[in-house]
Amino acid sequence: MSSVRYPWPIMLSVLWGAHIQAADSAVKSPSVESFSKLYQSVKINPEHREMALIPSSEFSMGCDPYRDEVCSYVPEEQQHKVYVSAFKIDKYEVTTNKYAECVNAGECDIPTAGGLMHYGDPEAGNFPINGVSWYQAKKYCEWEGKRLPTSAEWELAARGTDGRTFPWGDEKADCTRAVMDRENAGFLGCGTGNSLNVGSKPKGASPYGVMDMAGNLWEWTSDWYDEHYYFNSAYDNPKGPSHGELKITRGGDFLSRQSYELRTTGRFPYYPSNPSPAIGFRCVFDDVAEVK
């Protein structure tokens, strides 16, 4: 697989200030400087650095046909047992402010911005960062001394071991528990037209207290996607196929209209170098003893 990353820093302008509205006013090109000014004294909510411990567990990964009527439509979510060793996972999706820290440190690329990709938007500091390619997400996690979760780790952190369909249980998803749209559209981000601050739906927490595992943004995982993988997956800490074209993203987004799109077993394959307003990420850490 090519690991092409698009360097273009600041696609599609952002200049989120209003100064580009007047037709006759001079328009400056968006620049690295305009972003670094916005983020120069970025303040991170300390909560947003918290991680949750996920103990070593065996669990049934995939769709449970006795609990979820959607399973017959998604045979590729074939239920199978896996064992996942203990790890810690970010309690929150990586925020725009946190990502900006890494940019400030000179380690991370500026994400793609514009439209609903909100890097550079002063109101989006505590939104989950979006517009990041898989490569950019991976780089951020490595900068923090962490890594992207495997798809199996992600699913365990989202639903625990009791076979529930959603992070909170089996009740259908709606805006009391998840940042999403509604059935016929027109209500994306629970009526805000955007993603929301991370952790804004505490009732939607997973059994381990992990937030936004349903809705807000899809999240990159380290696994390649193969629709046949669940039929011959490894039992012990599966890491996905050895190669592929698309990476697995998990968890649904603020544009999801149907409850079933936010099932913890759902997977959305996406091309790793393509940015999206709907995809962000969180990181995991292996050395359980060292993380507080």
């Binding site: 090519s2 599609l12 439209g115 027109g186 698309l246 393509n274």
Partner: protein
């Protein structure tokens, strides 16, 4: 089997036979001639990489007046020629209101297939640019002023008391051709806003420094295709100008990515 037979007979569509004419397939003629392509600082918008100003001559061609709709796309699926687009989340396939909305969440291959099915092809980046910007190289389909707004573009703006901005309050795309005042010089609709459009060119940031004057077709190879246009998510003029170009890998299937087809005249 019946479906294969229809293809063998060369008919356009089972759906057409069963349900009547599929709309929005009409094309407009773009006359042969020279035009100016690219973006410069004095244009007053952010210039995407690889858009140096240069002259291009194109032979006459036709381009779809409208973006490919789900109705058009469905006819192709029904004939067994096109594969289903992604659905879920902001992908509008299978939404009961989306028949006349632009097909989104389609890969490059799917965009090529729907065009081929209609006896057309994807436009080159140069063809897209000329059809959008007209002989005066407009920044927006209607000219350089007024500024983009929901009067002319399906974009991200709170209007008429709407609670949300994306899609002029719809939170998604709108029907193709719904912004009549946003037509281009040649009468092409939705060249700004609604959804981005696949072109047949591979993406390069240097190609147009040295591209052929006549009918440039982009670099021979690459890892991403060029998207042109803009989408219902864009708020600002920089993101809606007709000079915007994006790299997007052909396997991508974004919420904001659709297609329009072109055809050579010969």
């Amino acid at each position: 089997m019946a479906i294969n037979m229809w293809i063998a007979l060369g008919t356009v569509s089972v759906a057409q036979a069963l349900y009547g004419d599929v709309q929005h397939r009409e094309m407009v003629n773009i006359p042969a001639g020279e035009f100016i392509m690219g973006c410069k600082a004095s244009d007053g918008v952010y210039c995407s990489p690889g858009s140096d100003v240069h002259k291009v001559h194109l032979d006459a061609y036709k381009i779809d007046k409208y973006l490919v709709t789900f109705e058009r796309y469905q006819a192709c699926i029904d004939d067994g020629y096109c594969t289903e687009p992604y659905y879920g989340a902001a992908c509008n396939y299978k939404m009961k209101w989306s028949a006349k909305h632009p097909a989104n969440c389609i890969t490059f291959k799917q965009a090529e297939m729907i065009c081929a099915y209609e006896g057309k092809r994807l436009p080159t980046e140069a063809e897209w640019a000329k059809a959008a910007r007209g002989p005066k190289a407009n920044l927006f389909p209607w000219g350089n002023a007024p500024e983009p707004s929901c009067d002319r573009v399906v974009m991200n703006q709170r209007v008429d008391g709407n609670k949300i901005g994306p899609g002029c309050g719809a939170g998604t795309t709108l029907e193709v051709g719904s912004k009549v005042k946003g037509a281009s010089h040649y009468g092409v609709m939705d060249m700004a806003g609604n959804v981005f459009e696949w072109t047949s060119d591979w993406y390069s940031e240097t190609y147009f420094n040295k591209s052929p004057y006549k009918n440039p077709k982009g670099p021979a190879t690459g890892s991403a295709k060029v998207l042109r246009g803009s989408a219902w998510t864009a708020k600002y003029r920089d993101g809606l100008a007709l000079t915007v170009r994006w790299p997007y890998a052909p396997a991508g299937q974004g919420y904001v990515v659709g297609a329009r087809c072109a055809q050579s005249l010969n």
